[in-house]
Symmetry: C2
Subunit: 344 residues, 2 copies
DNA sequence: CTGTTAGCGCATTCAC
DNA sequence: GTGAATGCGCTAACAG
């Protein structure tokens, strides 16, 4: 039993003032059933003695910790950090804190993290599933255990049993490609990530649909699905893609900002002029899209807002009288294209 | 009193097996003082019944939460995220989790966050002080309350009462500027941030000392201390700095990667060739220093390692028999220059 | 090896 | 208005 020094507790205050613990507790709790003069005395002595309530004891007694658990696939992705900022921003005004952990893009780790949160440490959970996550039962279990879960990004059909927030990836990609087409582009390349990941699949769908809609034949040589997980390898893949002689795109739609920047880097090195010879659109609008020369036109994803929204959904569930028959909510946020120098 | 559904507890298992709660607890706890057959029965039933230990109850009883509180000045700075990754990496192997909160560069908020952690939620605290933080008493208080605190980055003298991890900012800046000088540069510009911030002050000292050492006169027109707090305003400041006609530097040392990238952006727009006309060195080596065209030479700061180290110091304190007369440790990590295209 | 008992610090019901 | 008693779920002495 490790004890934090000689912490002051309610009992100490009670003894000093010849009051009961209950009264001291009530006095500190804004409970009206206590004389004004007593309250003042209690508050005064509490301050003098340097009293700090024990959050753990409070939690055990009250059944709530005022902590929200957040599970993201990785830390080093500005998108997730922005979402976390949004979450933090919202919940902090409701007296909650967030406990962030990373699943490191591993399903097993996601399950582990959930289990750890289920041990009563958090009142609710916000989760962004990994691309390995194909099933929903681990999440369902937590919800059944009485802990609300709200999801964002990368949601698959099976998960529609929980509230979630996402953007319309297909539509967003469609509009970016449509933008190119309307500018007269014919050879539009697509650069995405691992095909198993829902968001990349959807964006690819949007790409295909745009081409279809405008009767532009799809060319497999203009399509790249990066499989690597770090930027260095991405760079290599993208490099060799554009170095292939068969490829002569006049526009590139990339599924992340990083892909967009790496694409521009590669193209510049190859002597292309952007946007004169070729245009590029990225996806996300975080990080340094606006710093690069030329700056990168992007599909802007409302990350911060997504965090706020997902937090709002969770807090709402937490303050509902009882989660009986909670009506599942799906929120789709809008994206928009931010025009910069990489497009005409 | 909000209750999590009908959670299985030790008592339920005990009842079902006609055992005492204590025995069940011991069986689940790897305690050797329990018959093998009993242990197996208990573990089996616990699994069958879907038992999840209540972390809060455990914490109250044991006096430790296995949570480390982390306070950083802001989320949207890759440096801090990297440090957090390092912390997480280290503590997760020691069965700890991290609770991150941001002081939003405000001293008051830092104090608040500390107080909140002092309420018994965390076993130890890792803190990176804001640049507003000029005093140490709020930290001292927490330490006196028996909660170990380890600091990193932006440490001032007064704080030497706590373990901390930092880099030698002055030396790092000195070596970068020395690098320029040895390449024959004479007009070396300095771009830093708010002068109140310790790290910027130290880097400026290093800059001055390098010039001094090599008998190069310092030119006030070549020095910029950015006062803004966001990238957009930084951009404006840097822009107007280089647009001033008096300025003709042949090299620029910047105190962050972002300043470095913004500087290159500005210079490229002005028609400079990098590194032919002018060289640039950034500081940090995070984010997209290697993606930019040209890629940015940097003083590399070992952020992830810093996180690991600071976590190690904290965990060590937590596992010491008693914090009696703990010998304060100061760890200085090495930096190195990563050569890229922005320098000859 | 197992059971009994007594906390951990606070909130809350029920008396007075 | 205030106090005494009970419980939150689990750990850890102390017995046996």
């Amino acid at each position: 039993m490790g004890f934090k020094k000689n912490r002051i507790k309610l009992e100490d205050i009670a003894n000093k003032l010849n009051l009961s613990i209950a009264t001291v507790s009530r006095a500190l709790d804004q409970n009206p059933r206590v004389k004004q003069s007593t309250r003042e005395k209690v508050i005064q002595t509490a301050n003098d003695m340097g009293y700090m309530p024990n959050q753990i004891a409070k939690s055990l007694s009250s059944g709530k910790t005022n902590i929200i658990g957040v599970i993201i696939p990785r830390y080093d992705e500005p998108f997730f950090i922005e979402v976390c900022r949004g979450i933090d921003h919202y919940v902090s005004t409701h007296n909650y804190k967030i406990l962030i952990s990373s699943s490191r893009n591993s399903f097993d780790s996601e399950v582990e993290n959930l289990a750890s949160f289920e041990r009563g440490l958090v009142d609710g959970i916000i989760l962004s599933p990994t691309h390995e996550t194909k099933t929903f039962s681990h999440i369902k279990n937590v919800i059944n255990a009485g802990i609300p879960v709200v999801l964002f990004d990368n949601i698959i059909e099976e998960m529609h049993g929980a509230d979630h927030v996402l953007i319309d990836d297909k539509k967003a990609a469609f509009s970016a490609v449509e933008f190119f087409i309307k500018k007269g582009k014919k050879q539009i390349a697509f650069i995405g990530g691992a095909k198993e990941k829902k968001v990349f699949k959807d964006r690819f769908e949007g790409y295909k649909e745009a081409l279809n809609t405008y009767n532009i034949p799809m060319n497999q040589n203009l399509i790249l699905h990066c499989n690597s997980l770090d930027r260095k390898s991405d760079n290599i893949e993208i490099n060799s893609f554009f170095n292939s002689p068969q490829i002569k795109p006049d526009a590139v739609f990339t599924c992340t900002d990083n892909y967009g920047l790496l694409t521009m880097k590669t193209l510049l090195k190859l002597g292309y002029k952007i946007p004169e010879d070729i245009s590029v659109i990225g996806f996300g609008d975080l990080g340094l899209a606006d710093v690069f020369v030329p700056s990168l036109t992007c599909v802007a994803q409302p990350s911060f807002e997504m965090g706020q929204k997902v937090a709002e959904l969770l807090i709402n569930q937490l303050s509902e009288p009882e989660n009986i028959n909670h009506q599942k909510k799906v929120i789709t946020l809008d994206t928009k294209i931010i025009l910069r120098e990489s497009t005409p």
